[in-house]
């Protein structure tokens, strides 16, 4: 599946608060339905060069959910304003135009053939990284893939998206401040789960901050469990042109996260480092 060639102007449907984050939707009349884990390059059509002549480059944002719209697809994105680009995206108003390129990247790989009694899929999300797992969870549910969802947050202010994107399923929570679920890290929940039987038949799908992903990678490597890690790296173009999003590979050299990722299999990298 290829993305439409070039960027296209899409209209903002709605933009609502979700915890400390924003969820905004775009109406995409041209693009194919995205795979879970794919991303789009987004830039507001107006006032993209804001204060201090930034943002300049589009921002790579994973799609959190999608569904049919009157014409084409609705694309939902979960964003946290952490800089000039995401601040501008957070401020998008209904009806505004956004330049969109995508869907880009590989997305999460298909689950392996699941044996009866197998451990199934384990989704591990941290913070804003819960976004791509929402669409993945729904796809697995549609195909009756047994799925467990583990989500972790720093505190209540950083648990945005949870109520919007994971309303219809059972999730196990962890929070560093203890406001919800296990007090500690979501990777504590994963470690406990991987102590059980039949874990070798499980597949882990994770997205979150680099330290979380590295813990997931190391736990899965130790237990010989397959894991797909949706990673992030500074990215100017999203389609292989800029070579900015290089991530070191375990066999030497670098991969471009935009075209060889953003989902990386645990064994492809030696460790997840902070870019």
């Amino acid at each position: 599946m290829t993305a439409p060639f070039g960027r296209r102007l899409c209209e903002v449907g709605e933009n609502r608060a979700s915890g400390g984050y924003r969820v905004f939707s775009l109406l995409d009349r041209e693009g194919p339905e995205p795979l879970p884990g794919q991303f789009y390059m987004l830039a507001a059509a107006d006032r993209w060069a804001g204060s201090g002549e930034r943002p300049f480059l589009p921002r790579a944002i994973s799609v959190a959910e999608t569904g049919p719209a009157a014409e084409g697809n609705r694309l939902d994105f979960l964003v946290e304003g952490v800089g000039p680009g995401t601040d501008r995206l957070c401020a998008l108003g209904a009806g505004e135009g956004v330049w969109v390129t995508g869907p880009l990247g590989n997305g999460f790989s298909e689950p392996r053939e699941l044996q009866p009694g197998a451990a199934g899929a384990i989704l591990v999300g941290g913070g804003i990284g819960i976004a791509p797992l929402a669409l993945l969870r729904r796809r697995f549910a549609e195909r009756n893939v047994p799925t467990r969802v583990l989500l972790g947050f720093r505190d209540r202010a950083h648990s945005g998206g949870l109520d919007d994107l994971f309303t219809c399923c059972e999730v196990r929570l962890a929070s560093e401040d203890g406001h919800a679920g296990h007090r500690g890290y979501v990777t504590d929940l994963l470690a406990a789960l991987l102590e059980g039987d039949a874990v070798a038949s499980a597949a882990v799908y994770a997205c979150g901050p680099p330290a979380m992903l590295e813990t997931v990678r190391a736990l899965c490597a130790e237990r010989r469990v397959a894991c797909g890690l949706a990673m992030e790296s500074p990215m100017a173009c999203g389609y292989g042109a800029c070579f900015g999003c290089a991530v070191p590979r375990s066999d030497g050299g670098f991969m471009r996260l935009c075209v060889d990722g953003p989902v990386v299999q645990g064994e492809q990298i030696a460790e997840v480092t902070h870019a």
Partner: protein, 298 residues
Amino acid sequence: MPDFCGIELEHPVINASGTYDAIAARRVFGDALLEDFPFSAFVSKTITPQPRAGNAPRRIWETPAGMLNSIGLPNKGLEGFLAEDLPQLTELPVPLVVSVMGTSREEFARLVEGVGEREEVDAIELNVSCPNVDSGLIVGEQPAETEALLEVLRPLTAKPLIVKLTPNVADPAAVAVGAEEGGADAVSLINTLKASAIDPVTGQPGVATGHGGLSGPAVRPVAVAQLRAVAAAVRLPLIGMGGISRGADAREFIAAGANLVAVGTENFRDPRAGSRVAEELAVALPAGVATAPVLDLE
């Protein structure tokens, strides 16, 4: 239809080396890329004699109206390029320019011979923003080094040799004259400006190597000034680039003396920027507006 060093082009907009990977773009966008290819000629990423992995991240950093990059010329090396990439680049519907860089005259000679003997290649761009290991000098910063390099390379191929100038010199026109006297067929400018940014939160450099190359609209006035100076000093055809994002920007470069223009960083924001700039450039100017190069240098 512009004629550039004997190569017929559909329009005057090409890409800057290292800002478009046509092979990756075809994987992402499919054959639509070929049906509506954004550039009238394709300039490859720079190749070196041996494969290079490139620099450790972090490699890019957004700046006001631009960006820093410190990519480190990742490429498959001459042999890998000829065997794996060239056959795919030959499928592009436009002439092919291959960018090469060596760290000695012997390395450059190997590259020019290896690339020059392939009929799929229409022209060769020499990336001279690198040190010569023998002299320790950056070739493109020295008119005499540039001239001497061209004198070695000129007899090795009949294909057009384009010298890509670095802007990190006091007098780029003098380097352009060196290229012309050494036998270059054309000059392209500007490469990126040496620059740094510091992350105000961590106090660390924005790119891991400490400094990188600045590109984007922020550098455009520098590029226009250097292009004017070079146009006044040499008779060679010129490829102008540096922050071109729109047809109006391209028109600035053409007015300053460019025969062709190249789109670089804008490709990152718009994969079809080349076509867009060409279309905007083709829109007729209002009567009375000069389209010919206006050179009024004091």
